[in-house]
Symmetry: C2
Subunit: 352 residues, 2 copies
């Protein structure tokens, strides 16, 4: 990859591309674009000077007709999710698709199966198909600024619009659920119910959604005087199967646990399925709390105590953002989290 | 639409298209294609003669280089579902996507929200994007041979592959779950448990899946000596909300009902949510059976008795069919249905 890039940089003929300017200046494609294509977003003056110098050296010309042609788009919006069969994404997608439909647009959905490389592939593929906008609905990752950031910058450079759901290290319109605050609400609930030996079953730590929910919980838990030793945190897939295995592991490590915070409802449902096999009754022996309030969470037994996010609304709003006229600064739209206390939580069982 | 078609037929310049030949001959696009493009599928000789005559009159030339160009495809497969947030489709899509991924292909999913016109739109849109194959995962409809049939024929004409899941009146590879047999199994179960006053809550009658499940149930029920008066069949959306409303309507119409067959699990879960409000306990007062065995159906309370379809496998197989070399005749791959008896069914409550 690096080889082919430098080959391209060295070629003698053909106009220089924005990518070559960005590489020469040592900046991201997005930064080079902002400097050379007249975006009003503020760029560090030193970086701007480097971009201008690189553009002059490479005789880069911002080709307006070519840009206009490249910007011709279709009536399709692309939507990228992590797992097509995860109801969290299905709810967001349903909200987004209803808004698109109302605007006469078609939506095409791609599922990355939580593979970051595949996410980049889909961004490029959607760009080749000239979709007019992209929604990234999955959690951000610690390294989103890298290849994914470049692919998105190129898409935006050609006139595409981007919005993300959940925190990403990306300079686009964002719909931000109150993951931290939701985590803090769970800490207070479990503390109020008298629980002190609490475990957390968690998805992969590189997901920003996982980090924020966990940080919100831990900060509040410690503020309340609680402790959360390392072995009380079990990490697995952010899925029903992951919840089951993490729950079993947690209870082996710390049999005295009286409450489990699962960082999403799928993991919570997996835990609820595992606990009877361990001879534990919910909520008599153990309380369980989830996060998301998926549509089935009131239907499981006992019905799940969880943190509700307005997923369909979040998807709808993200779609509205990319259909609205662009603004100079990314919008950041916050959505609240609401604790919904149902049947899986109760007071800590008194000893004996 | 008809106006613009006849305008096109009358135009003086430009080569005649296959569509114009088909219209002049009064045959489907698929038939015209088979006659003129050398498919080995058998066509009624009289129709073939009409197509040849129309082609001669319009000076139609099968343009091999243009066809080759038109047949250039991408590494994308299109997948069309009825509802993105229905776990039935999510499971099928997950299976299909895993196979596509294993073959280095990307999958793009479109949701029609059960709008037949939108289904045709998406077929044309996917064709414009040169996807190499299309999977139609939703139930067929009584009128599939019309505009949808034409759009698919045009897609296949240009080298695309098509497979469908469930019965469609369409000449493509098909994955066929045992919907009728599953319905018959439910009839026998409820009869064996002593139920005689049975109601059915059903999705829209134009869906072939609904028709087959219902026909399988009714035929077996009558064979066993049971009756199913018209008012014991309540139709609504093929969804959880539809199940809830149809259940309430059924119990108002026929309060003596002792068992409900819901034609899919979503409707069954809707019924389970409605019954406590009517003061009815499952399975003590009323038995409920679903169809599909979605992933949450074992987690609801009581756990749902249902008919299991291997949805992920069905999706995987449909994807394999369009990736395999084409054959002269459509493949028809049958998948079994398996009755899974859980907690929502029990013997009819003895009177008093």
């Amino acid at each position: 990859m690096n080889q082919s890039r430098s080959d391209r940089s060295r070629r003698a003929s053909g106009p220089a591309t924005l990518r070559e300017v960005a590489e020469r200046a040592g900046v991201s494609l997005a930064t080079a674009s902002r400097v050379l294509n007249g975006s009003t977003r503020v760029v560090n003056p030193e970086l701007a000077a480097r971009v201008d110098r690189a553009a002059a050296e490479l005789r880069y010309v911002s080709n307006a007709p070519a840009q206009a042609l490249a910007r011709a788009t279709t009536s399709v919006v692309g939507l990228i999710v992590h797992e097509v069969d995860d109801p969290y994404f299905a709810a967001i997608a349903a909200g987004a698709m209803r808004v698109a439909t109302g605007s006469g647009l078609l939506t095409m959905l791609a599922s990355t199966f939580r593979d970051a490389d595949r996410e980049v592939d889909y961004v490029r593929r959607f760009q080749a198909q000239r979709v007019r906008a992209l929604l990234l609905t999955g959690s951000g990752r610690a390294d989103d600024g890298g290849r994914l950031g470049d692919a998105l910058a190129e898409f935006v450079e050609r006139g595409g619009r981007v919005a993300v759901i959940s925190d990403h290290a990306l300079p686009y319109d964002a719909v931000l659920p109150a993951n931290e605050r939701g985590g803090a609400q769970v800490a207070r609930l479990l503390h109020d119910l008298g629980h002190r030996d609490v475990g957390v079953i968690s998805g992969p730590a590189e997901l920003t959604t996982v980090r924020l929910r966990l940080a919100g919980f831990c900060d509040e838990w410690r503020r309340l005087g609680g402790e959360l030793p390392d072995e009380a945190l079990c990490t697995a897939d952010f899925s029903r199967a992951g919840g089951r295995s993490a729950c079993v592991e947690l209870m082996e490590r710390r049999p005295g646990t009286t409450a489990i915070f699962a960082l999403n409802d799928l993991m919570a449902v997996g835990a609820l399925a595992a606990l009877p096999d361990l001879g534990l009754l919910v909520p008599r022996d153990l309380s369980v709390v989830g996060f998301d309030d998926l549509w089935f969470s009131a239907d499981v037994q006992p019905s799940l105590t969880t943190v509700r996010l307005p997923l369909e609304e979040m998807g709808a709003r993200a779609m509205s953002l990319v259909l609205d006229a662009p603004s100079n600064r990314p919008h950041r739209v916050h959505f609240p989290a609401e604790l919904v206390v149902r049947g899986t939580t109760g007071p800590r069982r008194s000893t004996g």
